[in-house]
Symmetry: C2
Subunit: 253 residues, 2 copies
């Protein structure tokens, strides 16, 4: 599963078109800043020292990067590809807490064990750091710690939006929010505005939105019938009525 590592560390790509839309939707005024932070705050010496600590690991689609409950000696950054992060209940119920894309951090948890499982959704490359040296570096690098705080706060704000979604929104509202929110996270998103790439399966969308695959399918059908979306292929769709979609996403009737 793990490749022989060579040194590499790729900062998050700069802000991409379509970011404004997500920024508005998620009430986050600094989506651009998020990317900016990574590109800007880690100045060269720190970046170099980070690189010295990094191992590059390539993952095949479906490969498990970390497993919930396992000892947690590493932290990661995702260089390319996409990763699903989830928690399981004993009977198999799954909640996907996030999809990660190039530039995202992973494993920055408190404690000695991972509190989630992370799997590659497609062929991916990650940089791995041992936690100890990484923490030591943080201690000495204020910009680095600053960036981590910034990112963690960003994730927390997203998590709170997701709580609102899971606790109080209907199926169609969840899906609408998801479809508008997703492109802002995915550096590999298509250029064309309104186009949404869906690198995940229906089951993963369902487990992210707290629904079943059947409900996801039915909601997408309803959206098609209503003219909200069109689907050139299974893994891609076009938002035809962004205005109406946004209303649904925000729960405005």
């Amino acid at each position: 599963m793990f490749d022989t590592p060579t040194l590499q560390l790729k900062p998050r790509s700069p802000p991409l078109p379509g970011c404004e839309e997500r920024s508005k939707l998620s009430d986050c005024s600094s989506c651009g800043a998020r990317a900016l932070t990574v590109c800007g705050a880690v100045d060269d010496p720190d970046l170099q020292r980070l690189s010295d600590l990094a191992e590059v690991i390539t993952l095949k689609a479906g490969a498990v990067l970390v497993r919930e409950g396992d000892p947690a000696p590493h932290v990661f950054t995702l260089t390319s590809g996409s990763i699903r992060v989830y928690k399981l209940l004993p009977d198999g119920r799954r909640q996907i807490t996030g999809f990660l894309f190039a530039g995202d951090f992973l494993g920055l948890a408190i404690g000695d064990a991972y509190v989630f499982t992370a799997e590659a959704m497609e062929a991916s490359i990650v940089c791995r750091f041992r936690k100890g040296p990484f923490r030591a570096l943080i201690e000495t690098s204020s910009p680095l710690e600053h960036m981590l705080l910034h990112r963690t706060m960003h994730e927390l704000a997203a998590a709170q939006n997701q709580m609102l979604l899971l606790g109080r929104k209907t199926a169609i509202e969840r899906m609408a929010y998801f479809l508008l929110d997703l492109p802002g996270h995915d550096p590999a998103r298509p250029i064309a505005p309104g186009h949404v790439r869906l690198p995940m399966k229906r089951a993963e969308i369902a487990d992210y939105l707290g629904l079943t695959i059947e409900t996801v399918s039915r909601v997408l059908t309803r959206m098609k019938v209503k003219g909200l979306i069109s689907t050139p292929s299974l893994n891609e769709l076009i938002i035809e009525r962004p205005d109406r979609m946004r209303q649904h996403a925000l729960g405005e009737v």
Copy 2:
């Protein structure tokens, strides 16, 4: 609503009995560390500089501290009392994203506007800091920023547990998790193990767990009938079967 301020800053109280239980439940190995961080990491000079920036504000029960969408010039720490933090949908649906108790931070968000509303649940005292000087202080105080990062990661982990709860758990599982989790957060919790203080109303529990007040009431009744809990009063209950309660909370069976 706001009192004339005098200087005051009270660090979080030290770890309290009952904390181990929560620590186990939430998969967080550092519940003690959380409190410890605040008491320990902010060493005297920093604490003093923080105090210089602080205004003390007293809140009556129900008072609004910050409102979602308003400009966000301040951050806060809660000195005593309890606060509910929530998001609203246009039609009034509410999701409470957290209950805050003495020692908790508030308002550490990215961007220029608050992304949530915060209201006092009971008479409370907060320390208020202007964001600018506070950020400047963070820049120069590594231990302070370290503490903030630690806390934010802690909150993020809790948020991910809440996503699992809201997305995949049944009503009784949600309530069980809530009842086991709550005492670990509340410094004013009763000494006796198994005793849970409920400073919030049914409506707030419901909006925190993504349920209705009727369902909350019915679940508590079911728990009473099953012998899982007993209720000396409306705002206090005793967990009679912590083992069975924990099974429910974790979705076993």
